[in-house]
């Protein structure tokens, strides 16, 4: 079957079975490899993408059930994304880097959704595993990005 999905602003055709997870459509059919496979069961957050701006685990969303616009790490843009990326760079967060696209996607959706306190930060970012344990810098980068974004919004 063919499914047309809006991905990074472009309608893309995924020719596959309806239950194929979006993750594999992105990676193996479209070559959008910035979205990472690591657990396949929604346990680690490495495959996080945005569905109408909200963070979803692409390994757990069947292609046939995607009703909305998908944004992957390759397609992020805008003031929140810019601040998140700048904070990730400034804090030199990445080590092996494999989980970081998913971390960045989770952080963008979190900050775009409203003010971020420590409880909200933990509740969201706890869902994204990092075996290099870059968590201290992830925490610092999310705080920084949230703060600089809040300042521009209120200014």
């Amino acid at each position: 079957m063919a499914f047309t999905v809006l991905i990074n602003g472009q309608p893309r055709v995924l020719d596959c079975e309806p239950d194929m997870p979006l993750l594999w459509g992105l990676r193996d059919l479209l070559g959008l490899t910035g979205t990472k496979y690591s657990c396949g069961k929604g346990l680690c957050g490495a495959c996080t993408v945005h569905l109408d701006g909200a963070a979803v685990r692409s390994c757990s969303v069947p292609v046939s059930e995607v009703k909305g616009a998908i944004t992957t790490i390759e397609g992020i843009a805008g003031p929140v994304a810019e601040r998140v990326l700048a904070a990730w760079d400034a804090h030199q967060v990445a080590q092996c880097g494999y989980c970081q696209p998913g971390q960045v996607m989770a952080a963008i959706a979190l900050i775009a959704a409203g003010p971020v306190d420590d409880a909200a930060l933990e509740a969201t970012m706890n869902g994204n595993l990092c075996r290099c344990a870059t968590y201290m810098r992830i925490r610092a980068a999310v705080r920084d990005a949230a703060q600089t974004f809040a300042q521009t919004v209120s200014a």
Partner: protein, 705 residues
Amino acid sequence: MTLDRRGFLVLASTGLLLGVAGKGLSTAPEPDGLVQRFLAIDWEGTVTVFAKHLDMGQGIWSGLASIVAEELDADWGRVRVVGAPARLPDYAHNAFHEQTTGGSTSTAQSWDELRRAGATARAMLVRAAAQAWHVPEAAVGTRRGELFTDNHTAGYGDFAAAAARLPVPADVTLKSRAEWRLLGGALPRTDTAAKTRGATVYGIDGMWPDMRHAIIARCPQIGGKVRSYDASAARAMPGVDMVVEVPSGIAVIARTTWHAIRAREALRIEWDTHAAETRSDTEIAADFTRAMAETAPAYTDTRGAPEAAFACAHRVVEAEFRFPYLAHASMEPLSISGRMVGGVCEVRAGFQSQTRNQQAIADILGLPLDRVALDTVPAGGSFGRRASFDSDWVAEFAHVLKATRWRWPIKLTRTREDDVTGGYYRPLMIHAMRAGLDREGRLIALDQRMSGQSVTLKAPEKPNWRDWTVMEGVFHELYACSNSRLRWWGPPARVPVLTFRSISNNHTGIAKEIFVDRLARAAGADPVAYRLALLGEEPRQVAVLRLAAEKAGWNTPPRPGITRGVAVHRSEGSFIAQVAELSGAHDDFCIERIVTALDCGLALNPDTVRAQVEGGTGFGLSAGLYGRVTLEGGAAQDGNFDTYRVLRLNEMPRVMETHLIEGADRPSGVGEPGSVPGTAAVVNALERMGLPQVTQFPVFAMSRI
């Protein structure tokens, strides 16, 4: 020297000049090809550094490049790094004599050759500019990728071609420490932007024209083989191209990874388990413990007269620790892709042991070594897993390529479950300790017994062989005790085991540091002071312990509600002490702060060093507090992150302060030492908070979600 395939590609795409000995480019190639091996400068002045080591997150690509860039006076913003091809002797590890990455040795063993490579290239650029400008070489200066005199300025790219034609100077002067402008400073990693934006290509991201995806069904019981199989249902599944048998199992070849995973479930396989492991990990541990009582040790090291000293002891303290099997569980599951084209096997992955990996593929495919081209790309973690001595995951790929008669390019991926259940674990280790203390609580006698597998997977080379992969970092070596005995038993098990970040230190160091803390408690002594008294021959451990204690305010009471624990260790040539501060209760706590003092000699990139201490600490805590692969009937029960628990963000120490001591004028290990003492420091605090004495790891039982 002929150009390898990568060299040709780079040359064709960038007009690479200095650094590549192409026909007509160099009239007098260097005797050892130092510049050509490690760097290249193109027309536009971009510097490409060829990294012979694998970057698996530790930042070594950036680190190696920074050594070259310093001596070259390069513009750091125009330095890029690619993996060097697999080739001996050009890219051999200078101590291990094969191309490999391990033991936190990469910086130390590259230090001299990369400084010289950068300085040599700089000297050639200077000479080329001096000749063109008709000035003495001494009049030509360099800065950030530029050559200049009072009257001239040019980019390195402008003179790369001319420099490549010059004779290579035999001797070059290296910069003095005072002249450094990159090393020792705050240098951003070269790979940060691409990794953060999802642009880095890992092994699992490899793509080739008309590629197919492979998934292998392996025997759940570790060590089992295929007896017979029925693939008719799997072959009928959508997207499936082929099902083939390989030595490790049945491989499904399909249109996507998902199609292959789904079709694998439709395979019906009868396993031959006669050579497979049959025991649970609890039974294996019991057998290992029994071996210590009933069999002769494989290794004994007796110093002084320990039994006589025990007879004089005022008090004896005993402890026994059981360390579980651990899966490395890198975020990037093992994946490797490649093809056969024109009689050459081209393969892309995060290769950690290129020499062995290349040989394994060549052997399986019947190719000469120079027909196996490895493209080493950054790895999404390894922690030891990619360094398997038998190249298991690489060999498996070659078998799939062979079984499919290289009809398509193939990408072989392991699912998370394949990764966690597939063996090659940190060894399960029993560590029993007994200490005799005198009336003042001083250590006068020590007995240590260890029982578990060696990661070398081979019989001892000679009687009473000291297997460093088992015994490095033991109490017996690191603390002074004139009457001591160390014994190791290596009982059989069919579970393949492997290096895991910091090799044996990840159990010996933890056992040592928890035990010494208990001795201090038994003696009624301050745990820092007690350690200092035992560290007479270890001045650099003394220095880090004193500094960590000072920075943590050890001699002043902590805030109310805070309990401290301390640990110190030496591994990979470096010295580290950590003080942990915990709040809450022993069964519901928060690690508020960890203060670290690290002496890794010369810290070339201090922020990267701190990042390795932070991440290493988290990795070590994950293993010590939560990690365990449970076996039942020889099969791993933990397949994914729901049961194989790893550290999450809220479990990370809230604050980490890392203080560096420069205890030598050369760099030593950074990637591994930070992963060792954290668990012990935290356990020592927890035991002071009332946690019953730890006997088994992980400290906290699995929470089954």
